[in-house]
């Protein structure tokens, strides 16, 4: 399993996100208040809003365009809305943020 070092944890603000460009589109990497790291596609299932620009609360993010709330754990839209965002594996090791590359590489092969 290959993990890519994206940068330091502190490069991402707590309750914030940074985006990562990939060949499959942008991925949003979130750091929650409890320093957990999540990576999900940076596109709201509603109208494609950039989730990395949303307000992060708990383990969720609110899309900046129309306030859909997306779970960072499952990628599922919360409440009355329905839809799902692809999620990717990410973790923190020694203060570095790591993203699992398999999903992106498979896509490239296909």
């Amino acid at each position: 399993m290959s993990w890519l070092d994206l940068g330091a944890l502190d490069d991402i603000p707590a309750r914030g996100a940074r985006k990562v460009k990939t060949a499959m589109g942008c991925v949003a990497v979130f750091r929650t208040a409890d320093d957990a790291i999540f990576a999900i596609a940076d596109r709201c299932p509603h109208k494609g809003g950039p989730l990395s620009e949303g307000i992060v609360h708990g383990h969720g993010v609110t899309c900046p365009l129309h306030n859909w709330v997306i779970s960072l754990e499952t990628g599922e839209a919360q409440g009355a809305d329905s839809g799902r965002v692809p999620t990717y594996k990410a973790r923190v090791e020694d203060g570095r943020v790591l993203l699992e590359m398999a999903a992106f590489q498979r896509a490239e092969v296909a």
Binding site: T22, E53, H57, P64, V69, F104
Partner: protein, 811 residues
């Protein structure tokens, strides 16, 4: 000696008369009751719940066969009365004569049928009695389309009931808004929205020309030429008193049967009660005055003194989920003033009409919990000038000193009617509570109170609270968001009183249910803390909406728009050149002049923001804050510089105001304008603060709006000098910052606190004005800075991707 009493009509009024008589004078009368309907007294105002399926006929019967038998009432139901002979004192029914000593006419009213072609076709029905209701239920069982003509109380209840039963319903209303006799246009609009949400189509200003169809109603033709298919047409355009018998008997009849305050007609042995009567030029269509009449009539029959006094009326709509209340007289008039409160987010609208410091009318939509308290103020006509500031917030918020809202309920007598639908009095509810019904559901189950239209629910809860004391927990007011039970106002008070200076402190003190709030409460808290503790609190960008976090406006495709500040709308060739260069360099697809006289560069990529800002900064341009809950623009006209009408230097004042206020954070965006003369080229009269320059100085208006609501400013002050105009404006903005709920524009906040309250602080009280200006300046010393310059220097990397894997993945 037993008298022979004949009553014609078994409606709600006559039912009450019979009750009073059998209770107070059980042996005085030998009663014969005629009714054209083949049944006895039932609660006619409950037909709507029967139509919608919430009730059955059995639920709304007020007097059953057993009651009539027990009290020796001779029932002649299903029998029409042909005529009355006052000379012979005889009533002639279809099945024979009945002599009387005293006669009561309680024939009610008949629905008004609009005289259009096709009105007599099968499939066209009125909405008046149980037979009509059953006909509608039968028609609805087949499904299809229904057209209800008439957007008044009855029409809308019919429409909601038919919709509930699955029909595709359209309401046609002749006037510009629904229920125009009870509601003003704003409340009518909310009602229309509510009905449309239920799937009912509402057409106002729709005049019916004909009902089309060969053998039965098939469609409705409007004057506009539009044709609406209809399997069922309900005519509910109004009612008129049923006076034929009285007219034929030679009694005095105007629009209704004319009666004295003792309910006596022009014949001393004939009385009349209910919707068929006219008293003092008034007709009566609501239940409360009918019951009053019934009480008076019973006394008159028993030869006891009593007089009917019409009381102020209130109306509620019996459509579940539509909270609507209207009382008194709310027509606009020269001596009348309005206090209006709107909360479009919650669909709440309240309007009070005041004349000579007395409340004369009230309209509530969406929140009717305090309606009875306001009704009391209308009835008592007491002077409200002392509590005017906070009147609209109801009994719980009087003059800053909390008044016990329950005191009024506690003071109600046992016979005070709480639930008009079911005729339930306070005493009955108290008895049920004392018998063990300790919550709303139990009270509802045992007494039927609040079980019908539900508009008296608040009052029933108050009776519970009064009776149970601390054992009853009142449902809380609308909280800020799902994270807390506190309202915005509670939170602002908490932050000030407990000197909370960080978000975690607020979460703790306010018993937040989430670890770190949500997108609703966090931006509000961030603002409240900045406004109250500019020196101690540190702004939290992660609690700001993206626009404020990145100092640009996000667009629907995720790009941003950039608006440089142009003080007072003034620019020069050098700035224009810099803007043009930046637009070219960063491939800005759209360059647009905004409504606030600034230039908008639309379609800038998020990564390019720091660079374009740096370029614009080099030319001396700073952020226009066109994205912020803060000062946006000060729009100006050219004033004395060029205009032949301009009276003052409006552009100069606009620039000074913008330089004083820019960079401040406020509960919502703030827009200003300065016009050089009353021709008002800068459109200052629909801004949050608008200054009109006149020969004698400056007229400062506040609380205008030109968005979801359109509102003209109200005059805050007239001042002779520019310096005072600026000072008052700054003080006003600071007062708004200190007190308003987040996301309330100044006009909404003003509607809550009242212009007089604001004027007392920013105009009349010079020391308070000075304090406000100083507090604003203090905040500006921390928060007025150009975010573009700051971000371009220190945070530029945050605007770039954390990593670019487009190449990595390809390897």
């Amino acid at each position: 000696m037993t008298q022979r009493l004949v009553i014609i009509g078994a409606g709600m009024a006559s039912g009450r008369v019979i009750e009073h008589l059998v209770e107070d004078a059980p042996d005085a009368f030998d009663i014969t009751l005629f009714n054209a309907e083949p049944r006895g007294n039932y609660n006619r105002i409950m037909l709507s719940p029967v139509l919608s399926g919430e009730k059955t006929y059995a639920d709304i019967v007020t007097h059953d066969d057993d009651f009539y038998a027990r009290h020796n009432v001779t029932c002649r139901f299903g029998e029409h009365v042909i005529r009355i002979d006052p000379e012979m004192k005889v009533v002639e029914g279809q099945n024979g004569h009945v002599p009387y000593d005293k006669l009561v006419i309680a024939t009610g009213s008949a629905p008004f049928i609009i005289p259009v072609p096709g009105k007599d076709l099968p499939g066209v029905i009125t909405y008046r009695d149980l037979d009509d209701t059953n006909a509608m239920i039968d028609a609805a069982a087949k499904g299809g389309k229904a057209v209800v003509i008439g957007g008044g109380l009855l029409g809308l209840e019919a429409a909601a009931g038919l919709r509930e039963r699955g029909m595709d319903v359209t309401v046609l209303h002749l006037m510009g808004h629904l229920m125009e006799r009870q509601l003003d246009p704003a409340a009518g609009f909310l009602l229309k929205q509510d009905l449309e949400r239920r799937g009912i189509t509402v057409k106002t200003q729709a005049s019916t020309k004909a009902i089309l169809g060969e053998t039965r109603a098939e469609a409705v033709l409007l004057e506009s030429g539009e044709v609406l298919d209809a399997d069922l047409v309900v005519m509910a355009v109004g009612i008129r008193p049923e006076t034929r018998l009285a007219t034929d008997a030679g009694l005095s009849v105007a629009r209704g049967i004319e009666i004295s305050a003792q309910m006596m007609t022009s014949d001393p042995d004939i009385f009349a009660v209910g919707e068929c009567v006219e008293f003092d030029g008034q007709l009566f269509g609501l239940v409360a005055p009918l019951y009053d009449q019934a009480k008076v009539l019973a006394k008159s029959l028993m030869a006891e003194p009593a007089a009917f006094v019409p009381r102020e009326l209130s109306t509620k709509l019996k459509v579940t989920g539509c909270d609507l209340f209207s009382a008194g007289d709310f027509a606009e008039g020269p001596n009348r003033e309005d206090i209006v409160f709107r909360d479009p987010g919650r669909g709440v609208y309240k309007r009070l009409v005041i004349e000579d410091d007395r409340l004369v009318g009230a309209v509530f939509y969406g929140d009717t919990s305090d309606a009875n308290w306001f009704m009391g103020l209308i009835t008592s006509a007491e002077d409200i000038s002392d509590s005017r500031d906070t009147l609209i917030f109801g009994p719980a918020f009087q003059g800053g000193a909390p008044v016990d809202p329950l005191a009024a309920v506690a003071a109600l007598p046992d016979e005070a009617e709480i639930c008009g639908c079911n005729g339930i009095c306070k005493g009955q509810i108290v008895k049920a509570i004392e018998g063990g019904a300790t919550d709303l559901g139990a009270v509802r189950a045992q007494t039927k109170a609040s079980g019908s239209c539900g508009t008296c629910t608040g009052l029933v809860e108050q009776v519970l609270a009064v009776t149970l004391g601390d054992a009853f927990q009142m449902p809380a007011a609308q909280p800020m968001c799902g994270c807390t039970d506190l309202t915005h106002e509670d939170v602002r008070r908490l932050i000030k009183s407990q000197e909370l200076k960080s978000m975690p402190a607020v979460w703790q003190a306010g018993a937040w249910k989430t670890p770190d709030g949500c997108h609703v409460c966090r931006p509000a808290l961030n603002f409240y803390l900045i406004a109250d503790w500019p020196l101690d609190y540190k702004d939290d960008p992660q609690s700001r909406f993206i626009n404020e976090r990145k100092h640009a406006n996000i667009q629907k495709d995720g790009t941003f728009s950039v608006v440089p500040r142009m003080w007072g709308g003034i620019t020069n060739p050098r700035e224009l050149r810099a803007i043009a260069d930046a637009a070219e360099k960063y491939n800005v697809p759209t360059v647009k002049v905004t409504g606030g006289q600034r230039i908008d560069l639309l379609g800038v990529k998020g990564e390019d923001l720091p660079a374009i800002w740096a370029d614009l900064n080099k030319a001396g341009l700073v952020s226009g804050h066109a994205y912020s809950k803060g000062l946006r623009t000060v729009k100006t006209c050219v004033g004395t510089d060029h205009c032949r009408f301009g009276t003052q230097d409006s552009t100069g004042l606009g620039i000074k105001l913008e330089q004083a206020l820019w960079g401040s954070w406020t509960p919502h965006k703030v827009k200003l304008a300065v016009s050089g003369c009353p021709r008002n080229c800068a459109e200052a009269t629909c801004k949050d603060v608008g200054v009109i320059c006149v020969d004698s100085g400056y007229q400062i208006g506040v609380g205008g709006a030109a968005g979801m609501d359109v509102k003209e400013t109200e005059r805050l002050a007239d001042v002779p000098t520019e310096a005072e105009a600026i000072e008052i404006t700054v003080a006003f903005v600071q007062l708004y910052r200190e007190n308003a709920k987040y996301l309330d524009r100044p006009y909404k906040w003003l509607a809550k606190v009242g212009l007089d309250w604001v004027r007392a602080r920013v105009v009349e009280d010079l020391s308070e004005r000075k304090r406000l200006v100083e507090a604003f300046e203090l905040s500006q010393s921390i928060y007025r800075k150009d975010p573009w310059a700051e971000h371009a220097k220190t945070k530029a990397e945050r605007y770039q991707p954390l990593a670019d894997l487009t190449k990595e993945a390809a390897e």
